[in-house]
Symmetry: C2
Subunit: 226 residues, 2 copies
Amino acid sequence: MGWEDVRAEVLRRIRARDWLPGAMIPNEEALAQEFGVARATVNRALRDLAESGLLERRRKAGTRVAALPVRRATLEIPVIRQEVEARGQVHAFRLLDERMALPPVPVAGQLGWASGAAKLYLETLHLADGKPYAHETRWLDPVHLPDPRPDFASISVNEWLVTHVAFATGDIAFAAEAADPRSAEVLGVPQGAALFVTERTTFTAESAITFVRLIHAPGYRMVTMV
Amino acid sequence: MGWEDVRAEVLRRIRARDWLPGAMIPNEEALAQEFGVARATVNRALRDLAESGLLERRRKAGTRVAALPVRRATLEIPVIRQEVEARGQVHAFRLLDERMALPPVPVAGQLGWASGAAKLYLETLHLADGKPYAHETRWLDPVHLPDPRPDFASISVNEWLVTHVAFATGDIAFAAEAADPRSAEVLGVPQGAALFVTERTTFTAESAITFVRLIHAPGYRMVTMV
DNA sequence: CAGTGGTCTAGACCACTCG
DNA sequence: GAGTGGTCTAGACCACTGG
């Protein structure tokens, strides 16, 4: 009887409605005795179920079955090259633009960059088997780059950052947007086409590193297994 | 020195590039000695970092810093009512259609339903402060419903399922799609508008329960904190 | 203040897998 | 075969928080 068995049995009782949504379940010590395992083993199992949103735990208050379970889905976000290669296709990219420029106010604001400070703008087209796969536009604080800058025409910005900059946190957002003229041209789709967009902001402990928008070619789906 | 401190210190060394991407790090016992904690405490910290994709661990092989860290983002997918109420708005919904019908072949196929078997089709419009929020279309195997069926005009299908059916697993997909005539009409947007679509398939241990498409009103964003 | 979960420890054995 | 992570145990103390 390992912790995964304990988890399975608890899960079974929830599913069988032995323990109803919103109801308390026995405390760790009671379950440990019933299953004949140490309390730490029960703790491990219940902690896991709580992390996945099926249980709610509070000291002193005890453990209850979540009334309205929040589904938690984990997305894996690999570098684009891996994503393309995982589909059995060949990845390539073209650096379309690279220059210092003033970031738009909303971007500077979200990243906490002083307005009026020029940052590095990079525009890249990713290809899968030679066909447009994603249109990437990125603002990057050059303070995180060595002098001279890496040659982003030969190594993708993202891969350089991932292997050379210690990034800490960030947030990711997904949205559907109508293709603007530039993305439409680059991806070879009609203006206004519905495109899947990923936006990522990345910070180190102290300061913002980069803001990137990935505009995916039509048909892109993001899938998760629960 | 708790396990979170150990995790923080290991993270610091990765960020400081003391330990380079792809490189091995000391084993648990060595770290336990260095930090003056039990091996189980180090294990907890390293396991956590491995789950978030920063470390790769294998028995006998040891622990190494991930060469190309896979970002893992966790999405919380609450019931729509909670989502709307979290924005400080009032949730309401209207059941637009409810009937037995033959599901489209791709749907039946994905759910493992015999072709030619009629299932329950439900169409719902969700409102936030009275304005269209999401257009929901759903196929549901009535075998999971009591007789007579719940009154889905007064309790939303999703909430009924979540509190009454023990669902096990499922997958979730996100995509951008152009508004079809029906969704455009119901949501009050032009045909062809770019809309964010969520598709969920839900299974019990034995059989498929439901397939649901949520077509969100324009401007919808799905956000995650890493 | 008292009950519950959260964590730590020291030691042990097991499971996997590299060499 | 041997080294590493994975897990379990029994006991202890701590931290939070409900009554």
